[in-house]
Assembly symmetry: C2
Homo-oligomer: 168 residues x 2
């Protein structure tokens, strides 16, 4: 396989994977391109490589910066902006975990805590099943939340060691 073909396949696959996880395809493709590029790219570069509009690039770059995955570089004497991405996949994973936790898991934990507070009507099957299920989900969500929190703070090598013990 040629390098160019490999790059294209990677960018394509990353976009497809992203949609399966609720992330916009183009955003993932821009991120993929920046991750494999040795130097920062301009809006024009991204427009050309992905064959998409200026507005599309601009909006998705903003989202990627909001996610803390892409950064802007300003070069003295140049007006246009250059963009680059963190290339260490472990740092990227930690950042994604951090953001999804804040944006999505935290509100769910809050709701589950409220729902746990609804009084149980003893003898009422509906009420009892509802409570048992919410309790069960609550435990798992809090477990996942704790796991993400732990993973976020840890080094990749440390996780590997823990994992090996767990797999034994």
């Amino acid at each position: 396989m040629e390098l160019q073909e490999a790059k294209d396949r990677f960018v394509q696959a990353w976009g497809t994977l992203a949609t399966q996880w609720g992330i916009n395809r183009t955003m993932a493709q821009i991120h993929a391109l920046l991750m494999i590029s040795p130097n920062p790219l301009t809006t024009e570069d991204l427009m050309a490589q992905l064959q998409i509009s200026r507005g599309n690039v601009s909006m998705n770059l903003r989202d990627l910066m909001d996610w803390g995955l892409v950064f802007k570089e300003l070069r003295p004497g140049e007006r246009k902006e250059y963009f680059f991405a963190e290339k260490d996949a472990w740092k990227v994973a930690k950042q994604v975990a951090k953001e999804r936790r804040r944006r999505e898991i935290e509100p769910v934990i809050k709701l589950l805590d409220e729902l746990r507070g609804v009084p149980v009507r003893a003898g009422d099957a509906d009420s009892e099943t509802f409570h048992a299920t919410i309790e069960s989900i609550s435990r798992v969500v809090n477990l996942a939340d704790g796991a993400l929190d732990a993973a976020m703070k840890a080094e990749e090598s440390l996780i590997l060691g823990t994992l090996i013990k767990l797999l034994r």
Copy 2:
């Protein structure tokens, strides 16, 4: 909060969360309803509670069964089918992890292995960055894959212990 309001909020929130993770809203809502229902429900029940069409219920139930999250119950002497869901959230999480791993992570690992095989052109920044990034992603994806595999096989209580150690 009333029980009915609590149920509605849960079903609603579960649907919203699902879309953020690439899962169809209605599928998640049907699953949520079945998880909090003490007894199996019919297609009619689901149509009425979610105000959706028969075809929609039928298709989403099939998907849920394909995911191994919902099961069919046939009652002797009755023609219509009853559906119920696994209520243990840890088992549900394990099943989801198992399926996503098989459907999404495995193909990605296969691709990354192919891309790792593309020869590096020493001195070529493009080629070197591409390889370094693919290697980095590959390590993290394999780590995540291993973590999911370990979690899938473990008991909830066991995970908690490991997690506490990791958090310390």
